[in-house]
Amino acid sequence: MEDFLFDLIDLVQSIADGLLFGTTYAMIGIGFTLIFGVMDKLNMSYAAAAIAGAYASVAAFALVPLPAPVVFFVAAVAGGVFGYVIYLLCFRFIPLASPLATLMATVGMLLLIDEIVVHETDGMPQPYPALFDDVMIEFGPFGLRGDLMFVFLVSVVAMGLLLYLIYRTRLGIATRAVSQQPVAAQLCGIGLERTNAMTFVITGVLGGVAGAMIGAAVGVLSPLLTLPFTVKGLIVTVIGGLGSIPGAIVAGLLVGAFENAFQFLRGVTERDMYVMLLLFVFLFLRPGGIFSRPAGRD
């Protein structure tokens, strides 16, 4: 009985840690979902670009020793630049009628970004600065890691700013108009290419923040992070419903908690299998995602 209670406390603790870490999945998921919403296409290189943004900030940190918040800011700016470059190379000049070509180009971009990172760092993991990593907030038997709390807060603020941008500014209205009816939006004088490019920059900035927060939470940056975050970000997108921002946030937290719970219960090597099973359960029971309307979906 005693053991069971201890296990339960540990399980709750893992779920709490997972929820905090899940905000990074939520941010990656939002990036995928926003680009999908605007262009009806997947950008497979998004998570790679996010982590590359964090790498760029490490490079800046190596040149001049900067305080951690400035490093995070550099990551966000670099993420925005990478977003624009990806838009130019993989979306701008490929005809709309060839969705496979766009997808393949972004996959090529994913490999390219990964290889540049491996080439520049010789594949060695790079230490990443964190804030408040010596703080531990205690609640009876539970403790919340300070660095994870910080990651959670920054992510929430970043997502809040994004929601404000999307729902309260002219640029956000343009973005949503393009995602709903590209032709009608053009007729209203909204520049399609400019809006698409801006969406890539915005999601890129969010990706840079996500990459920095991933680095801060994990403690190191490694090329090995790219694929898991790509896969989990996409899973979050599907569970939340393609194109739904609130869905991506909830699904990100859900995936984070779920994966940590199963890491505790079944070990680290089997953890991700259960995340994939969760995806298949959703595909089977709720293919439109968490916030889909139950009937009348197309």
Partner: protein, 302 residues
């Protein structure tokens, strides 16, 4: 000489893998699970020859069938939803299969040595070819025998009604549906065929490398599988073959002198190729031009 025989084997196996993705792509769907089906075929047929003493042909067939059944099961829920969902679902499924074999132990003792898959260490000693005295040349002939059989079957299918149905679904789902085609049946059938072909390829792969492990079947392999038909174009099976020769022969082997810059160039060349030729290297137009060269008539105009 052995180097070129080995290269020919690699090109053969990758052609089979690419063709498995080609079948699915004809219906306008994209499957990133081909590496998973390939892994199922590899592990199952390897276990059958090593642990159960099968001949390679029935072992490959069983591996392929099992991979096909898995593809059918995955296809059903995933294909009910929109196309891009399938990309994500199959990506997750492929990773699931890889992680499954990462955690999969099944060893028995044979002649004092433990054989069989062992989790992260992989599956060693799949020695059907050396044990039965096949030379590299025999293996190469065998690989290309299977490649030619698969290509001939797909070529024939493309010219039959089945091929027309697949392409109709790929061109315009709505039009195909209103012509009385059952979309789900067609897509799941294409998935199943793709899974079967990938399983066959996996069976050969396991036997010529003699050692497989879960890392061989990651997202990179799945990316290669879809890259071949996309780069080669969907006009016919030879596009895929051409793309495999281009990627494995020229990019992977030919650029070896560039050291680790090769990998950089690889991604960049894919991005470039897609910008310049979004419909593939061997698209309908260039096929028509080629036909015109051989028959003396100008098909490109029609």
């Amino acid at each position: 000489m052995d180097f070129y025989l080995g290269l020919a084997q690699i090109i053969g196996v990758h052609t089979i893998l690419g063709l498995s993705a080609y079948v699915v792509m004809l219906t306008g769907q994209l499957s990133l699970a081909q590496a998973g089906f390939f892994a199922i075929g590899a592990y199952v047929s390897g276990m059958l020859t090593v642990l159960a003493g099968f001949h390679i042909l029935p072992a490959m067939l069983v591996g392929g069938l099992l991979a096909g059944v898995m593809a059918c099961i995955v296809g059903f829920p995933a294909l009910r939803v929109k196309g891009l969902m399938l990309v994500i679902a199959t990506l997750a499924f492929g990773e699931f299969v890889r992680l499954f074999f990462f955690n999969f132990d099944y060893q028995i003792s044979k002649g004092g040595i433990a054989v069989g898959p062992l989790g992260g260490e992989g599956f060693r000693q799949i020695r059907f070819f050396p044990e039965n005295g096949w030379t590299s040349f025999d293996v190469m002939l065998f690989v290309w025998g299977v490649v030619i059989a698969v290509m001939a079957a797909l070529w024939w299918m493309d010219r039959s009604r089945a091929g027309a149905v697949l392409r109709a679904v790929g061109e315009d789902e709505l039009a195909a549906q209103s012509a009385g085609i059952n979309l789900t049946v067609v897509k799941v059938a294409a998935m199943t065929a793709g899974g079967f072909i990938a399983g066959l390829g996996g069976g050969i792969y396991a036997h010529y490398t003699t050692h497989i492990e879960h890392l061989n079947f990651g997202v990179i392999l799945a990316t290669f599988a879809i890259a071949y038909p996309i780069l080669g174009g969907l006009s016919n099976v030879f596009g895929t073959l051409l793309a495999v020769i281009f990627i494995q022969g020229v990019l992977v082997e030919g650029l070896r002198f560039m050291g680790d810059w090769r990998n950089l160039l690889f991604g960049a060349l894919i991005v470039l190729a897609m910008n310049v030729r979004p419909r593939g290297l061997l698209d309908e137009r260039s096929m028509a031009l080629l036909k015109g060269l051989f028959t003396g008539r100008d098909h490109a105009r029609t």
